[in-house]
């Protein structure tokens, strides 16, 4: 074990997997300079064929990823800020997600799309979106949302070895956060949530950027005598329903913390799953802690106002625990 920065863990996974598999190529805007640091040093190590800066043309880059993958390569496409996924959305929604079916299974798409998402840095509305609800709804791409350096590395290695198009969404602005990362060559399977804290009173499901707020909320609740169970989903597609349902069976209460806008968020999907399959064990209606259905404002105070945080999560959880049954 060694302490590593989140972004370093991602960089390590790319380095190790590209060294292992010569068919992996990576391209995107400014991947040589690497604004986030995740692709730093790759060009020097793997050369200009495998690591390539591209023009700014997302609609073409996503299509090229499809074409290169259909022609035998394992493509990593770096889309920088997650909002730029929208610019390249046709080939994502209409090609990447659909061609495997439309060709009767003739084609597979080992494509990994990297992008940083989320707000909190006064990046304003076009550089701080949380786009995974739209991706989750496509029905043909995986969505991975690692919250810790160790998970980031283990999940990315799994994704880079798999044959399905996968969005690996990096928690924006969290690159410098450090935590222990195992030294050995390990992978983490998709669709397995992590229970970060066991508890009896309420289940908090946290997604990506919300995990650290969930950790703080659980500590805050413990101070008030509320024993929260905290789950990090780690991947949204595929999604680990079993772990969440088992927890709700134990606690009877559910709060989902999600940085997406509320309408059709990941949180609303998770609440729907629990309502469908865990209704009998619920003691209160599930709560979503999400972003209101607005664009992200720029000013720090205005942005803070709409973003979920530990206090909002703890308040929602405490309200559920303190609510009288049936109210």
């Amino acid at each position: 074990m060694a302490k590593k920065r989140y972004i370093q863990a991602i960089n390590d996974a790319l380095m190790e997997e590209m060294a292992r598999d010569p068919k992996i190529i990576l391209f995107g805007e400014d991947v040589e300079i690497s604004m986030f640091g995740d692709t730093q040093g790759l060009r020097a190590r793997f050369g200009a064929d495998r690591i390539r800066n591209t023009p700014i043309c997302e609609a073409t880059l996503t299509g090229m990823a499809v074409g290169a993958a259909a022609s035998g390569y394992r493509v990593v496409l770096h889309m920088m800020f997650s909002n730029f996924i929208y610019t390249g959305f046709d080939a994502i929604a209409n090609q990447m997600a659909k061609l495997r079916l439309m060709t009767g299974g003739q084609m597979r798409f080992p494509i990994t799309v990297l992008a940083g998402y989320g707000g909190g840095r006064s990046s304003a509305a076009q550089h701080s979106d949380t786009p995974y609800p739209a991706l989750m709804n496509l029905g043909g791409v995986n969505v991975v949302v690692p919250a810790s350096p160790a998970d980031a590395k283990g999940l990315l290695k799994t994704v880079l070895r798999a044959d399905n198009p996968t969005f690996f969404l990096e928690a924006g602005g969290r690159g410098a956060e450090t935590a222990e990362v195992p030294d050995d060559d390990y992978t983490i399977p998709l669709g397995k949530a992590a229970v970060l804290r066991e508890g009896r009173d309420v289940t908090i499901v946290a997604i990506g950027t919300m995990v650290k707020h969930g950790v703080a909320a659980a500590a805050e609740l413990a101070g008030k005598g509320i024993d929260a169970e905290l789950i990090d989903v780690r991947s949204l597609v595929p999604f680990d329903e079993d772990t969440v349902l088992a927890s709700v069976r134990k606690t009877g209460r559910l709060v989902v913390a999600d940085e997406a806008r509320d309408r059709c968020s990941a949180a609303s999907h998770i609440c729907a799953v629990v309502a469908d399959k865990g209704f009998g064990s619920l003691k209160a209606a599930p709560k979503r802690v999400t972003v209101p259905n607005v664009a992200m404002p720029y000013a720090p105070n205005a942005e803070k106002n709409v973003l979920p945080n530990a206090t909002k999560i703890a308040e929602a959880a405490a309200a559920l625990v303190n609510a009288k049954a049936g109210s």
Binding site: I25, P55, C57, T60, G63, M64, G67, T103
Partner: protein, 331 residues
């Protein structure tokens, strides 16, 4: 027919006629089957444009890739796709090339380098550019051809793909089939300037050809493919042609008013690429009428066999969609 320094032999010419005939007769059958209510979905027919697919694909190998459009049957057949498997696909049958999951607009055969017809106008441009990038990384002499229409030239990805292909010297061959219509809109009403001038801005080889003259297409494509195979980078061909059938076969059922004159269609019928090529072959005494009749009979048999195969096929497996989509991960 134009004369140039590239002189094809009879061994080249007859296969060109064969491909054009196959496309024409298969699509005539599809038109009849559609209007008889036998096909589950719509079809966008290539009738009148056969010289382009045939002239270009004659230079390609299985390892070369193509991307196509919603009007993709001709490219599929010209690149060596199976008429049986294509017709069965259009009928929605298990025996279809995509096992009934794609249909007319998505016929693909990866083993033949056919990366698919595509229902999104211009989508094939970037897929072909990505495939050309893969070809470049492979360091072989494979090429990638994207067939697209005049309508696609108005999508921003046209410029983007020309830019990347030129910048990286990729073996991408851009074949614009200007058939005079973007769906129902005459090209002149939606397109400023000449499409070829957009490509000329990149200083790559650009050629305008009569797309109803299969030899002209064949010559232009031969030069472009050779250029790409030698590492010379991308080329652009604009083939002027005409869509003799509608945007889709169903259009008469919903169009309230015509969008083109019968007279115009009739004028282009006089320039039918198939008739012109037959006249050329007989006029130049390369083939006699008997040879062409024999070829027609052979193609008719292939079409009849493919149509019967499609009609007799098993309905698609409705559970296949779940097997294909991430069968290894169910949640």
């Amino acid at each position: 027919m134009n004369s140039t320094n590239l002189d094809p032999t009879k061994d080249t010419l007859v296969p060109l006629l064969r491909r054009m005939l196959l496309i024409r007769r298969v699509e005539e059958r599809l038109s009849a089957d559609f209007h008889a209510g036998k096909l589950p979905g719509g079809v966008h027919l290539y009738i009148g444009q056969e010289a382009v697919a045939a002239g270009v694909c004659a230079h390609l190998r299985d390892s070369d890739t193509i991307t196509s459009t919603h009007r993709g049957h001709g490219h599929f057949l010209a690149k060596g796709g199976s008429p049986r498997a294509m017709m069965a696909e259009i009928w929605g049958k298990q025996e279809g090339i995509c096992r009934g999951m794609g249909g007319s607009m998505h016929v693909a055969d990866v083993s033949k380098g056919i990366l698919g017809a595509n229902g999104i106008v211009a989508a094939g441009l970037a897929i072909a550019t990505g495939s050309a990038f893969a070809a470049k990384l492979d360091k072989g002499d494979r090429v990638a051809v994207c067939f697209f229409g005049d309508g696609a030239s108005n999508q921003g990805t046209f410029m983007e793909c020309l830019n990347v292909s030129t910048l990286w010297q990729l073996p991408t061959i851009f074949v614009c089939e200007n058939n005079n219509f973007s769906e129902f809109s005459p090209t002149a009403t939606v397109t400023a300037g000449a499409i070829i001038d957009r490509a000329r801005a990149f200083k790559i080889p650009c050629t305008a050809v009569d797309g109803n003259d299969v030899l002209a297409v064949w010559r232009a494509a031969g030069a472009a493919v050779e250029h790409a195979r030698k590492g010379g980078g991308p080329s652009f061909i604009e083939a002027h042609t005409y869509r003799l059938h509608g945007h889709l076969e169903a259009e008469k059922s919903f169009l309230k008013s015509p969008y083109r004159e019968d007279r115009e269609i009739e004028e282009w019928r006089q320039r039918d690429p198939l008739r012109r090529f037959k006249d050329y072959l007989t006029g130049e005494r390369i083939c006699d009428g008997g040879e062409i009749d024999a070829l027609e009979a052979e193609i008719a048999e292939i079409v009849e066999d493919a149509a019967r195969f499609a009609e007799a096929g098993e309905p698609a497996d409705p559970n296949l969609v779940f097997d294909i989509m991430f069968h290894e991960q169910r949640a």
